[in-house]
Symmetry: D2
Subunit: 369 residues, 4 copies
Amino acid sequence: MSLNTFGHLFRVTTWGESHGPALGATVDGCPPGVAIDEAMIQQWLDKRKPGQNKFTTQRQEPDAVRILSGVFEGKTTGTPVQLMIENTDQRSKDYGDIAEKFRPGHADITYWQKYGIRDYRGGGRSSARETAARVAAGGLARAALAAAVPGIEIKGYMVQIGPHKIDRSRFDWGQIDQNPFWTPDAQAAEDWADYLGQLRKSGDSVGAVIEVVARGVPAGLGAPVYGKLDTDLAAAMMSINAVKAVEIGDGMDSAALTGSENADEITMGPDGPVYSSNHAGGILGGISTGQDVVLRFAVKPTSSILNPRRTITKSGEETTIITKGRHDPCVGIRAVPVGEAMMACVILDHLLLHRGQIGQAGGKIGPAS
Amino acid sequence: MSLNTFGHLFRVTTWGESHGPALGATVDGCPPGVAIDEAMIQQWLDKRKPGQNKFTTQRQEPDAVRILSGVFEGKTTGTPVQLMIENTDQRSKDYGDIAEKFRPGHADITYWQKYGIRDYRGGGRSSARETAARVAAGGLARAALAAAVPGIEIKGYMVQIGPHKIDRSRFDWGQIDQNPFWTPDAQAAEDWADYLGQLRKSGDSVGAVIEVVARGVPAGLGAPVYGKLDTDLAAAMMSINAVKAVEIGDGMDSAALTGSENADEITMGPDGPVYSSNHAGGILGGISTGQDVVLRFAVKPTSSILNPRRTITKSGEETTIITKGRHDPCVGIRAVPVGEAMMACVILDHLLLHRGQIGQAGGKIGPAS
Amino acid sequence: MSLNTFGHLFRVTTWGESHGPALGATVDGCPPGVAIDEAMIQQWLDKRKPGQNKFTTQRQEPDAVRILSGVFEGKTTGTPVQLMIENTDQRSKDYGDIAEKFRPGHADITYWQKYGIRDYRGGGRSSARETAARVAAGGLARAALAAAVPGIEIKGYMVQIGPHKIDRSRFDWGQIDQNPFWTPDAQAAEDWADYLGQLRKSGDSVGAVIEVVARGVPAGLGAPVYGKLDTDLAAAMMSINAVKAVEIGDGMDSAALTGSENADEITMGPDGPVYSSNHAGGILGGISTGQDVVLRFAVKPTSSILNPRRTITKSGEETTIITKGRHDPCVGIRAVPVGEAMMACVILDHLLLHRGQIGQAGGKIGPAS
Amino acid sequence: MSLNTFGHLFRVTTWGESHGPALGATVDGCPPGVAIDEAMIQQWLDKRKPGQNKFTTQRQEPDAVRILSGVFEGKTTGTPVQLMIENTDQRSKDYGDIAEKFRPGHADITYWQKYGIRDYRGGGRSSARETAARVAAGGLARAALAAAVPGIEIKGYMVQIGPHKIDRSRFDWGQIDQNPFWTPDAQAAEDWADYLGQLRKSGDSVGAVIEVVARGVPAGLGAPVYGKLDTDLAAAMMSINAVKAVEIGDGMDSAALTGSENADEITMGPDGPVYSSNHAGGILGGISTGQDVVLRFAVKPTSSILNPRRTITKSGEETTIITKGRHDPCVGIRAVPVGEAMMACVILDHLLLHRGQIGQAGGKIGPAS
């Protein structure tokens, strides 16, 4: 069985393979009346688009999205929105060598074990190309969110590549869009360019950590205890290709804290509660606090490398493999807009779930009026 | 909105509050014919039971499970299994102080913001007491798994408490059940006892990291791309109270690896593929490889501490709070059987999903016969 | 596989067998703040309760509901509500004869074929006793609906028993609660009493048609195209034991109409559209119009009769069977409150779904202001 | 909210409007290894295609399906199958008159009330054109069913048009494909041609009843108590445009039967149970018996007629309306392949659900071996 839908009310079903005629996202549950057009979605796809610089795959795809349904006279109608991206660069000759061999660290072998089908054309459904459909859906989610929660902002950026982390003291929000790594640390961007350039020449690849922040999320979003906001965010991020870990707020470091250290103390501000810190990453008990929602996810290095690795063939023979072709030395770079898209979808979904409550939309804090 | 069900085919709905008459799990989709009785489930609840040693809450609850439906003549019938645990120790006077104040780092405030209801009796639904229901459901899942996959084993253990990690060179599987921390490192168990004893006296709490391993999981489980095995495991673990991070295989450390390092090389053994290492944690492309499935999750320190923290009341007044009452200095200890239970439920669920395939159950590896 | 949950946001999972310790409904997604207590639910269970008159089974069950979770200080908290009914009259000796034989027209044989389990104690999960849990959940749904849509009314009544239909010219809403058949035709109630009395003496049973009307349903409810209001009502009613057909509005008779006859013409009233008729049963395109929602469902005669029928045993031997024990000559009578309960659950569910929309709750009809 | 997905494991999401660029079905959960190509699906679309004779709309659409994903080298891969049909005949000038007026008996008004959007181009999403996507998905379901259950056959046919029913004594399975009404009664086909010809000239429309039969369905399919086979069939049929009633087996007529009459007596044949009759329509307790699964549904007359009807405009003004354009005098004719498609999807879905059981696939009937 496959399960290609995520979301409770804002439901995104992605479809399509790396080398088929097209791929896309069937989005059901988008509220009616949201202003949207192809250009509004295309801007996010362009951010993810391959071939933009020497650190991403040289596959040349315009990744032009078409809206096939659900929009009339510039607004969503409340019916399913079909977002299709045609595959134009389907060169498959590069992949001939891997029709029989399994790439170590790649889903080749497990897809074969599960389905008994080998779609060797660039990984088929397991290809990171599937994430283009997520980004398209995320563009629609962003538009719906912007209409519902003015000022909400969702931003992803790299905080680590290989062993090299950013220096948080140099964190500059304005730098994020100024370098090919989407990193807020300008110095790190320079260092990483050298590092990754060498790595690429050596035919190797490397992992990364991406942080995604959502600002302006209303308090009260999340559906305990199995549809918590952090639960759904963890699932959303872990479903992205090559992701091996997800952290909320302090994440793994929480384990080392005492309760006294971990407590985000609360005082009263003019607009409601004010927190002294954000160890929680904006989520308590699976429900948003109104602080920034902060998460990180780790992306492993791509398995498509030029260094020979031992492996086996479908018929069980031992051999070695190197993967030629057009691959990213660090797939984490292009995972940034994907993480943003998933964040947007999850938050919109929970906004819709929360609005479904009858009557009062939650408890107020402050003197009884 | 709340969402209290998890699982696709093996669906567990937990219900009940910390201080209500009872709590439990309504389990739908359990296969028929599974041998089960209350004692088989009780053994796992006893592992989680409070009041077992000085490091867990002194609340005295027998946590006796009753099977109210779905079992006839010692076997499941394929209809819903109701597992109920009555609350016998419902002292609520301890909680009087927090009826108006919000505990920093606790879900008090967000439950109020979401629902406009303050169930101050021990946290209500947000209490870790809810996890007793998970453990009960996990006991049923284990029985069904054992029947379907002979030899499958699921085991959780602590690998870190506060800043103190185990020494992997001392890892001894046989030690896990021999100490109150469920840790495979006997020396760590002694050191931690001292550390936690002092922490408890100081009225503080601390976080932890739990590792859960499933051995003997067949290859092919997982439902790409939004019901991947790791996706569902990440969601399952993140839904547990106080969990702030989930890692699969090398987890966050994957980011620092090169592709050459990360590749789990493959050779051919007598029974199928053999891997040189398990950076992947037994999951590639969201599908099990047949290796051990390995995950870790981080539990933050409980917010119920004796050190005063600044906070506000429902009416917006600033104040401070300390939390008296019966609390665990390290909730991570009791999270061990909970993590095991969630692992059991997710793997069973995916086994059922995978069996739903028509015809061949996946591709074979080896010479054509 | 079994699937024991219905509803999209107001999700009801029923559990329990005819002769187990208890049965009930786990209700998730009920909005917070709904005033509810056991008595408010009990009133509906009492309407369905067996043993009330000579036309319903003489099984004596108080069917007393207990609220085990989700309610605090008299109001729902937004967390799962567990409604439990203990079985007190579990005489099983009556059923000894059917442990090996299959009753023609009963689910005995298909439950065996599906699950390989024979719960011969009164039909197990296939017993109409399961509908007590539906009625309990429906009581909660009614309370939530009443809070959200003042004046909404849901009423079921019998319009046919065996071949005998009511005379619509004698339809009197006030009569419904005045007779054991819940019929609006007082004369029919008298005639049917004679008819059913004779039938009962002969050891036979008979079918019935129940009509359920919801008044005051807002326009706009329904989720096209697979969660239409009529789609979900059809599923809800067809899921009730012994139901073989569901009609909306004119139902089967629609087939014989011309488009000119079927058109419910529209004029403009002070409060919005006014319809000249209601062939549509209050639903167009799967969405409520604001007219009365009207449906009917047919209940087949119970298969537990005293006339011998040919059948087989589990081991394949041919034999005959008669069913002694305490059975209703017309199960349709007690299906009335069940149909009401399902209507209440479905309408509440769609109200919640509709409220989930962002911004405008739909289009207005009338001059632009 | 809209909900455009049906099915538990074989999940079909349809998308697209009457006059948008395209419509289609995103099918998730199709088993891998099913042989399929566009021609196999096209044959069913051709059966539904408009413009085939004078009794169906003269809209000329080739309705050519394209498979955009999920199929590789002629077989399904187990990943989502995207079936797209481009709209080529999008004349919208015919619909100008209804941009402001609501058609009585049509979903125009409720879509407006729900969404606040008026897609006046042929009804938008509420158009029966959506059913083309169902037929495409049904074509895939048929292929998967044929592979899994050799000999299974699904057939729909008309049994009533307006007040005119077929004569069951003339029932001839071989006639069904020989006339434009898909009716098994050759004489009725001739009579109906005259009747419908006159009706069409008068600018009116009429309803119909379609019967759908599935032969060769294995015993044991269905997921009590809310995913029963009849429950899901009722929902599937009721979700089709213009359907107002669904019957299983004897349907509404069951109400008039006694238990003695209704009992389908059982004897033992060489291959298992043999039933003396099929009042149950092949379903007991929501589970298939192995007999023919038989259902009927009633289609109301289309609301697009040339006789003027009173109505109102969006701004609340009273007026009258006639609907010019290309419409079917009896939409029931084209509902035949749609009903078949829904039957195929539901049965495949339940086959997959049933296969998900661990171990024995159900109980055996016959002497212990």
